[in-house]
Amino acid sequence: MSSQVKPVTAEAYEPYKETFSLGKFARTYGSQLGIAGVFIALWIFFIVGEPRTFLSSQIYFAFMSTIPFFAIMALPLTMVVIAGEIDLSFPSIMAMGMITFMTMHGLTGSVGLAFLGALITGLFIGWLNGIIVVKFGIPSLVATIGTQFFWRGAVLVLGQGKSGSLVYTKASLVHPVLVGKLFGIVPMQMIWLIVIAAATWVLLNRHKFGAHIYLIGDNVNSAELMGINTGRTRILAFMLVGIVSAFAGVVASLHVTYFWPSLGDGQLLRTLASVFLGGTSVFGGVGTIFGTFIGAFIIGSIEAGTVAIGLTGFWTQLIYGFIIVLSVIMHTYVRRRME
């Protein structure tokens, strides 16, 4: 019996066809499906508990008005956490951006320039955060606790602790563009949230930057060995949090046409909770924009929902905690099952 002759021609292979199977889909998107499930379950719970409120559109427009203020910041923050870092200074960046806003307006009389100034401030503070972490090697948790205090202090010192009316912004185009109502009913901040969510999704999933973010968070050593500029990528991630936080600060202030030096206080835990509720791992390398987006809406709706179904506001924190812990357990379980 003659031995098999190997064909000289190039080996044929099956071209890659992504087969769809429900099991594979569930395993790949497990975390996101999980948090969507929690959201839907909560929603049904609220509707059943208080149909009058949750079956009419009013409360949803209220959510669309208030949730974006912190949800917007949770999105770039997700990328920072995926990269293995964290940023606790963003509430102070919100306020610091507004200090620049009011100063610039005082100097130039232009709301547009003031807005630009705020964004540049955010970019700069983010860059500074990045430098402290990357060039000096300070862990981001510690570094941003420090900068959080520093910039809040700067806000108080520069603003002399004063609050201020922003009524003059109503005269500018910037006001309706940022906080107006599309078609008279949809709050613009919701539109901006969707725009920023779409942009961060594309950046994270379809751009080299996002690919590097995941790799750096997964194994910074491997990333370095393979030539990724991990320092530059992380600094850019902090800068994104900076500029978006400044944006959120302007939006939140214009919404009430008033600047409080305490702007941002109280947003820290809510924003962080959205990120982790959404399935981002505190160890890095794992996380999704969709998860954070849903997480923000869960966090944002619990307070109103709790009160609407008849429990007192005291229950809010209890339920926050319950849902957060439950969801994080779910994400960890899903991740382990996928392995």
Partner: protein, 251 residues
């Protein structure tokens, strides 16, 4: 003789620690050089300088006779050098295609990824080069799940895909089964057969002797000696290695 890689008087100090001192190293065309030496001798440091991960404290590096000023990892790759690291340089939570294209993602000029092409290429490499036939493994599989040999396969295929002229292997047999080790050694022989060069570090003198044309012995940051494997028997080489470890010199 034209060397594809040359290091002249290279030193690397980490503060007080003199990891490498006055190292002269050459890699010829179509040559496999084995790098031998005890733990801490400086082999990995030498490799990291060659691959551009570390900058030499002093000394010169030449690729193909041309001096290279500031060698970085991307630059070394451009010059045709690929590395299979001891630590494998993989991201365990990420998918196979992300690992294959780690740091070299296929993208357009704006930086937007061509995910489909990367998955397609990964699939092609998997079936043709890595020999993954199991349907359980796909470009979307998380690399952390693979066995030691499979992870090594990923690191090697990754180096080959980008068509290197020089392939550096840092302790590639670590954690491999006998069969996987044999596959790896055949792979190194294949590199020479393909007309390329390789630098091969391994603790195991038998592996190195089996595939290398030339052996360079590093001890305490210096080149202690060099031998053509055809000119020395395995027993003599072993005796010399022991002597170096005990006395610090070959004589």
């Amino acid at each position: 003789m034209n060397y594809c890689l040359e290091l002249k008087n290279v030193c690397k100090f980490f503060g007080e620690v003199r990891a490498l001192e006055d190292v002269n190293f050459r890699l010829g065309r179509n040559e496999v050089v084995g790098l031998l030496g005890d733990n801490g001798a400086g082999k990995s440091t030498l490799i990291k300088i060659i691959t551009g991960y570390h900058q030499p404290t002093s000394g010169e590096i030449y690729f193909d006779g041309q001096p290279v000023e500031h060698l970085t990892v991307p630059k070394a790759r451009q010059l045709g050098l690929e590395t299979v690291y001891q630590e494998r340089a993989l991201a365990e939570l990420q998918t196979l295609w992300r690992n294959i294209f780690l740091g070299r993602e296929l993208s357009n000029s704006w930086g937007f990824l061509d995910v489909n092409k990367m998955k397609e290429e990964t699939h092609r490499l998997m079936t043709r080069s890595m020999g993954f036939t199991s349907s359980a493994v796909s470009p979307e599989s998380k690399v952390g799940k693979f066995s030691g040999g499979e992870k090594q396969g990923v690191a090697i295929v990754r180096a080959l895909y980008f068509d290197a002229e020089i392939i550096v292997l840092d302790e590639p047999t670590m954690g491999l089964s006998l069969k996987e080790t044999e596959k790896l050694l055949n792979f190194v022989r294949g590199i020479r057969a393909a007309g390329k060069s390789a630098i091969f570090i391994d603790h195991n003198i038998f592996h190195v002797y089996n595939v290398a044309d030339r052996v360079v012995v590093i001890d305490r940051g210096r080149v202690a000696g060099e031998f053509q494997t055809k000119d020395i028997s395995l027993d003599d080489l072993m005796a010399k290695m022991i002597k170096v470890a005990e006395t610090g010199s070959l004589e």
